[in-house]
């Protein structure tokens, strides 16, 4: 399997917004963020603040209203297979089997690599469901299939929008471990939105905290912990409390 060099990203004074029902709604407010190649950045923020929107801009699906996003110095003008997105909704193609969905990136690239498709399906624990149609999967299984569909592409940046949101706590722990292992083995840059502060602290090298909409960066912490972290680590518990306070919890909680 070819492993590409990770990609560094630079977001420079990004503004964005949408017009909903005739009135302009600002969503992103002056976001500047530099992400080094190979970093694992977790994005935290209240629901509706603009996290998914930011990921869409980085993916190149929409241009920002103001500001520039560069990948390794070159401005991003559109989507590309070096930046693979796992969306918040699984959005599996109902007319493709699980296997066909996971192989989507290969089909687009005109590449045949059934082994890596099988490996990705096995990795997310869907072995035996290769021939199932998406409507025959549970919500969590569909999400894992979407994760496999993203992983087979060997991206230089992996963009994850609440990748494990629909999983039960046990499957979630397994998938967290797998994700962390993949990131270390393949060395891609990871950009992950999550609502779970503990998950962010377990996986990320850096946690960025956003304000409510329009999103501004209100916290940017480097997580200086060893790669094999334990969720009972007192340093981790301490950081968790800090972040929750930044997100608006009262300190005496």
């Amino acid at each position: 399997m070819v492993t590409h060099r990770p990609l560094g990203l630079a977001l420079d004074h990004i503004d964005h917004g949408y017009t909903i029902g005739g009135t302009f709604t600002p969503v992103l407010d002056d976001i500047s963020l530099t992400i080094a190649p190979g970093e694992f950045v977790a994005l935290l923020g209240p629901s509706g603040c603009g996290k998914s929107t930011l990921l869409r801009l980085v993916a190149g699906l929409e241009p920002p209203r103001a500001g520039t996003i560069r990948a390794e110095g070159a401005p991003i003008t559109g989507p590309g297979p070096d930046r693979i997105v796992m969306f918040q909704d699984p959005t599996l193609y109902p007319w493709r089997t699980v296997r066909g969905n996971v192989a989507l990136g290969h089909d687009i690239a005109g590449r045949k690599d059934p082994e890596s498709v099988d490996a990705a399906i096995e990795l997310v624990g869907l072995k035996g469901f290769e021939r199932a149609w998406p409507h025959q999967l549970s919500g969590g299984m569909a999400q894992r299939a979407a994760l496999a569909r993203a992983l087979v592409n060997d991206p230089r940046v992996l963009i994850l929008d609440e990748p494990l949101g629909k999983l039960d706590s046990l499957t979630r722990l397994t998938m967290q471990t797998e994700l962390h292992r993949l990131w270390r083995d393949r060395g891609f840059t990871a950009l992950m939105v999550t609502h779970d502060v503990e998950e962010a602290l377990l996986l990320a090298t850096r946690v960025v905290v956003f304000s409510p909409r329009p999103a501004r960066i209100i916290g940017d912490l480097t997580i200086d912990l060893p790669p094999h972290r334990h969720r009972d680590d007192p340093r981790l518990l301490h950081l968790r409390k800090d972040i929750l306070v930044q997100l608006g919890h009262s300190a005496d909680w």
Binding site: A59, P79, P81, R83, Y93, D107, I108, P134
Partner: protein
């Protein structure tokens, strides 16, 4: 309750053969009320069907269809008695089973020829219309520029019943066959266009986003995302187009083509050959239902991923 029920279900298939034997016996032994053709061949045919049904019962291939097989056998018996033996209804308009059989025995060549002509006309016209309909529908669904120029034309011409264009088409186009093919294409094309358009326009934009982030170009987005996503709607359009095509076909054959089942029927009417008309009607209905069945078979294959259970 279950025991007699189960026995009934086991014995029922064996009653189908005898029902047809009864029809054969009545046809053969009971003298006809008038001088009808093909009475003995009809009895032989009923007998053959009865034997085939017995064999099917022995091979256990009949279970769900048994009630229908019995009802048909009894129905033919009743028809035979009412019309061939007692002549309850005025004769030329209401035929007997042997009249119908006689048409197939004596005129099968012309009937078969008409069927082939109709099928040929349909295949070309419907095929072109369906293909163009899908292509135009995709264009309307995806390209604002295409939509700007084509939508007004579709709105003007599409809702017009194709039959209304027949007289004009036969004058303008030198070959009646070509004119009919064009009208059939129009008949099939309009519903297919509209439903393909609606299907493509309704594709979840997130489906495009997924493919685009993996580097997909327009070609992939159209052929491998928009088309399969719109397929359920496209098949509704193809089905509706087939219906309009049938109607257009019959009228075109009656008015201009001078061949095919529609023409045969009109010719039969001109000669007051009512049994021939019934025979042509039967062939036509078998042709139409056969084509609809074919379309549904293709649909079931293409849309295997859908959970709906519509069964034709």
């Amino acid at each position: 309750m279950t025991a007699p029920d189960a026995t009934g279900r086991r014995l029922l298939p064996w009653a189908a053969g005898p029902a047809w034997f009864l029809a054969a016996l009545v046809t053969w032994r009971w003298p006809d009320a008038d001088d009808f053709p093909a009475t003995n061949p009809l009895a032989a045919l009923f007998l053959a069907v009865g034997l085939a049904l017995l064999a099917a019962a022995a091979l256990r291939r009949l279970s769900a269809r048994a009630p229908w097989a019995i009802a048909l056998g009894l129905g033919f018996t009743a028809w035979e008695i009412a019309q061939a033996k007692l002549l309850w209804l005025p004769r030329p308009f209401f035929g007997t089973p042997q009249d119908l059989l006689d048409v197939f025995l004596t005129d099968w060549k012309k009937l078969g020829d008409s069927l082939l002509h109709s099928l040929g006309l349909l295949a070309v016209g419907y095929g072109i219309g369906a293909g163009l309909g899908v292509a135009i529908g995709v264009g309307l669904g995806r390209s604002p520029h295409f939509r700007y120029w084509v939508r007004p034309l579709i709105r003007l011409v599409g809702p017009l019943p194709p039959v209304a264009l027949l007289p004009l088409a036969f004058v303008l186009v030198p070959s009646g066959r070509l004119a009919s093919e064009a009208l059939l294409a129009l008949a099939a094309g309009f519903p297919t266009t509209i439903l393909t358009w609606s299907g493509v326009a309704a594709v979840d934009p997130a489906f495009y986003d997924v493919a685009r982030t993996m580097g997909a170009r327009t070609r992939f987005l159209v052929l491998r995302v928009a088309l399969p996503a719109a397929m359920p709607q496209i098949f509704v359009g193809l089905f509706m187009g087939l219906g309009v095509s049938f109607a257009t076909l019959v009228v075109a054959e009656m008015l201009g083509v001078k061949s095919g089942l529609g023409f045969y029927m009109q010719w039969a009417q001109g000669w007051a050959a009512y049994p021939n008309m019934y025979a042509a009607l039967l062939v036509m209905s078998l042709m139409c239902t056969g084509l609809v069945t074919l379309l549904f078979k293709i649909r079931d294959r293409v849309l295997a991923w859908q959970k709906d259970g519509l069964k034709w």
